[in-house]
Symmetry: C2
DNA sequence: TATTGTTATACTCTATAACTATA
DNA sequence: TATAGTTATAGAGTATAACAATA
């Protein structure tokens, strides 16, 4: 818990960094380092709230997507929203189905499509848990007033846009990975 | 790559969210969702830059810590800076040692301590790779001027402080997890 | 006794590829 | 052919616990 000297809040890069890496933009590196650290801490907070329920953030993400949809949806929609591959969705649904939180139901018209639905047991669970996460979100940014929160969202949005545009231009692989958002 | 409707930039929660979760603070949830997404995208960018070198961000984290230290350091120091457990450090060092990027050397005085050192091969590699990441960081926040970058770092710092303080108060588990910073 | 490090095991998540079945 | 989903395998990263050696 006690961390080393680099663990200041926020992370600041000193003259030693500047000497080692004269070509780097200190401000930019500080932005990214603090971005990564803040997100790590925030998602750790979410994870620790979910631990008593024996759910991971990804699992809750699936449940929240289903709750949000309000009706059974096919695998590939979950995959798209979660930004993950088909194999992972199958695996996630397997786990949730084993726990009785989710149910596979046949698609009315397409026989190759499988719909995933929340069980009666899962609905009250989602209604219990998501407010806990929302409250945690509120607490984590409690030191920022409404205007500052809006500034933060806006700055992050501009970074997102820059990342996505340079991704597209370079023909690079998509940002990929987990969205880690908890849609609701 | 084409994402669903929720994939606006930045993520904005509409009236449907407000209806479903009247107790939530929309601004706060938007902050956290965009924070997590931006960090995901940024770390995906780092990971994709490291892929040609067949290195993960954690592995480079170890190399950067060693480069930064400028001298061989014991395992537990790496663990502290990386915010990971002893077992993980052993495992990481194993992998890097197998690739010839790192070397275990005996501690001059303490015989229970093992020092980890960069090899001659690793030094130029670190000098080649870290500037790539620094350049990527610069590019990702290129749309923000110096003042806006400073604002972002400052806002993130205040969120970090809030998280850490409430962690301490609740006696909750430490934020834990990976710092994901690339010290240098 | 407390610390340093190793080893082993298990779990989450991701990625990939081969496969079946359906459209 | 293209899409939907399953299955299997591999790997990264983390957590935990048991363990040996040293301070």
């Amino acid at each position: 818990m006690a961390r080393d000297a680099r663990d200041s809040i926020p992370i600041r890069l000193g003259p030693a960094f500047e000497r080692s890496w004269p070509a780097a933009s200190i401000g930019a590196v500080e932005c990214i380092m603090n971005l990564l650290r803040t997100a790590d801490w925030a998602s750790a907070r979410h994870a620790s709230l979910l631990r008593p329920y024996d759910l991971t953030t990804t699992q809750l993400g699936v449940l929240a997507i289903l709750y949000d949809a309000g009706e059974p949806i096919p695998h590939h929609v979950i995959g798209t929203r979660l930004l993950t591959k088909a194999g992972t969705v199958s695996w996630l649904v397997d786990g949730l189905e084993r726990r009785g939180l989710v149910r596979r139901v046949p698609h009315p018209t397409s026989r190759r499509t499988v719909l995933v639905a929340l069980t009666e047991e899962a609905v009250p669970l989602v209604r219990e848990i998501l407010p806990l996460l929302h409250a945690a979100d509120r607490a984590m940014v409690a030191d920022l007033n409404a205007e500052e929160q809006e500034t933060l969202v806006s700055l992050l949005g501009r970074v997102q846009l820059t990342i996505r545009m340079t991704d597209a231009c370079q023909g690079d692989s998509a940002p990929g990975g987990e969205d880690a958002t908890l849609p609701s």
